[in-house]
């Protein structure tokens, strides 16, 4: 039986350039940077960093990926997992606090809303990177690049299986709505193929 483990992180370091890139700024003047930093301060205590994950066996047959507990048809994922004997499946979220800020400012200041949304995108990416890095180090393995539902031909509908298997609502308070949208929105689910180091 595969265990589903929950982990809580402290805030990973912020990559300002990444956040600005998500906001559509390819270059940033001092003022924009100053703004971003004020939003970083504002969001700091509203963010939580939670991940739940499990390691599953994987067997590939053409485009059919079988993980024991569930399976999915996707040539792109099959290619991504080629040569891996197991896969790390995880769900990560930075919580509802940032959604509340995005929605609040959406009503009174779209400029702030856009920047905070971008910051949220950077935060969840940073969390996923940090989690994968730690996992690889702790388990002395190498991980393939993350692969999420919606990439290539991996259907968004596979989220339903992922949510059931990882028990996301209970483990990290992450839920899936009728349109297969995640709440909180700044969340990621992904597969990462595990490659044993020699």
């Amino acid at each position: 039986m595969t265990a589903i483990i929950t982990k809580t992180y402290k805030a990973p370091p912020i990559r300002e350039k990444e956040a600005l890139r998500y906001a559509g700024c390819r270059a940033a003047d001092e003022e924009t940077l100053k703004l971003l930093r004020s939003y970083i301060d504002e969001t700091e205590d509203k963010l939580t960093y939670n991940v739940c994950y499990g390691v599953f066996p994987v067997s590939i047959n053409g485009g059919f990926c079988d993980f024991g507990a569930f399976s999915v048809q996707s040539a792109a994922l099959a290619k991504n997992l080629y040569g891996c004997e197991s896969v790390l499946l995880f769900a990560a979220t930075v919580g509802v606090g940032i959604d509340r800020l995005i929605s609040k400012y959406g009503r009174i200041s779209p400029a702030r809303s856009v920047m905070i949304d971008a910051l949220g995108a950077e935060r969840i990416e940073a969390l996923c990177d940090k989690f994968c890095e730690d996992f690889a180090l702790e388990n002395k393995v190498r991980l393939n690049p993350r692969f999420s539902p919606g990439y290539g031909d991996l259907p968004l509908a596979s989220q339903k299986d992922i949510f059931a298997v990882l028990d996301c609502p209970r483990k990290i308070g992450l839920s899936l709505n009728e349109s297969l949208l995640m709440s909180p929105t700044k969340s990621v689910t992904a597969f990462a193929g595990i490659v044993r180091e020699n």
Partner: protein, 807 residues
Amino acid sequence: MTFSEFLKNNNVCLDGGMGTDLQRLGLKPGENPEKWNITHPEIIIDIHRQYFEAGSNVVCANTFGANLFKFDAEELESIIKAALDNAKAARNSCGSCENKFIALDIGPTGKMLKPLGDLDFEDAVSVFSETVRLGAKYGADLIYIETMNDAYETKAALLAAKENCVLPVIVTNAYGDDGMLMTGASPAAMAALLEGMGADAIGANCSLGPKQLTGIAEELLKYSSVPVVFKPNAGLPKLVDGKTVFDVGAEEFAEDVAALVKKGVRVFGGCCGTTPEYIKALAAKTNKLPPVPVSDKNLTVVSSYTHAVAFGGAPVLIGERINPTGKKLFKQALLNNDIDYILAEGIKQQEKGVHILDVNVGMPGIDEVSMLENTVLELQSVSDLPLQIDTSNINAMEAALRRYNGKAMINSVNGKEESIKAIFPLMKKYGGVAVALTLDDNGIPDTASGRFEIAEKILKAAESYGISKKDIIFDTLAMTISAESSAATVTLEALERIRKELGCHTSLGISNVSFGLPNRDAVNSTFFALALSKGLSAAIMNPYSADMMKVYYSYKALAGLDENCGEYIAAAESFTVAAEPITVKKADFGTESTSAAEFSSNLQYSIIKGLKEKAAAYTGEMLKTTPYLEIVNNEIIPALDKVGIGFENKTLYLPQLLMSAEAAKSAFEKIKEFTTVSGSAPAAKGCVVIATVKGDIHDIGKNIVKLLLSNYGFNVIDLGKDIPCRAVVDAVIKHNAPLAGLSALMTTTVPAMEETIKLLRKEAPFCKVVVGGAVLTAEYAMKIGADKYAKDAMETVRYAEEVIGNQ
């Protein structure tokens, strides 16, 4: 003996972690544990039996996820029946059934409620209701609502239990290691909400081990006047040789939990990772412990979905500005269904430091029931302050209280029979703290003793409804001193007597006192100070009044409620600034930037640089000498165009474009204020209906489009997000809109967009459709039948100008 009777005089031992028990016995990840009631009844019965034998007074039937989201009606009924039959079979196999109870177990739906997710509150209530009805039908002794990590869903489940059965209800929440629920509620806020609605016991379960959750249990013991429940995990799960192992053993677990039973926890058990062995150890450690009596904490508390606000410490400020009385712009916003205006009023008051927002949207010509309900929902999506629902329309009051996420303040009840009969049953059902006005059928007594007597009468009536004294706050009615010179002293005397003799908290609507006088702030703030000295607990007041805020901060410092005068010193800096409007100097930018000369005016400069306050101030200044149309055409629009072109040429980026757009908006708001007052409001350009389509809750892009279209003078009807096709078409027809803008961010929601376009073509063929959103392309947009794909908000503006022009 019923469970309620047992709970009254005994400690209650619950069971352990059914979910992890089943996993140990072979349940696979993703598999429905509830189905095992039918496929593996012998295993389920055996687990229950082991818990009863270990010492559990209550076992939870295996119904955690048994709801209509997971099963169809028929299957749900057979699962719940089987689950309760299994529990009963286990109980019957134990010999004596004495003091052994069976709970219908209700866990979260796994879906997020609106506004954070897409599950409607009433839909959640009706799903829980079906589970409750079946549980009651098949013989549960009590309802156990558990592992809820969201206050709103907890409320939905508790409401369903209260409306569909007469069984006692225990509620426990899953708190994170930050001490809050996942959606932010503190233990104090949950205690206020759940106790207010009549839960029989409340507490914490799951998420952490007994040591990490001890702080939460202690908080609950501090705030709760009903028994506290504690059902932690067996520590934290760890992976050892590919197996989940919890890091707290049975003995240690039992010791940690027993320590809390000594401190007052009355209902206890284990959650994930605990087994019959744990419960046996726990029962052994606790069966000699006397139950600690549950005392009424006598706290007057309201709450939001994050925190509680208590009366009796520092004065509580209740912002009065969400109220149309005497406000032309506010009335117009209500008539136009301009919710954003109302929300901004809420956010501004919060920034000024109020603790509660009064919400009054009553005026002739609007449907107050739906307007109040909607305003409450919308306010709760932008502000975490508790709300005071202010209406004399009882249907509007009920609709708002039902939907409110937390324990609301109710404004108001009074000594009239009719008022008492209407308000107290609602309070009993939904919880709340009521402002009680000391008036009755004979009007407002002239004397303090007359008002005091009404207060006594109201308290007596409350008691007969089972409403505690702590949930009534008296308002002794500030009357205008310009009509009756002793008005203020009578009010203050009554207030002091109620505070001292009845021990109740008090609130006053401060501003009434100065009605009809010049420079009202001076009178109001002095009256406020006098009332505070008589023991006033809360004030409904204007937080934009610097005089009032000065009194508030000074009083706190003087009354020893502000350590080292820290808050006073921080606030004092703003006193002088806030007291005066922003002054505009001619050469404001002369020294700030040499490039100011490039702009034709300070206003243009402010807009281009995205300086909101300055743009408004300069507009206000210009309006004194320049016709507003000239300001729009010669200053604001050229500035917007410059920024727009810069954005299109990629010399500046989205955040800068938006900052400018917001500065322009603040200039337009100044103009609107001016024209509304002078009655010379400009005719808007044609109407554009915009919406994020059904199923999609992304609205950042749509909000940007709204901002820019409004700035360019279009009359934007913003329907919001997750909007059904029908609502879009109805709005287009109602406003005869030549253009509709639709947004979708997900491949899964584009079909809803296509459907909306189809319906528009059929019923409103006059309307052009522009679409946008992350997953769309020009080609895709054509395929689903749109007239235009706009890659960004500027392109939408250009297209609107093309379609509607300046008609």
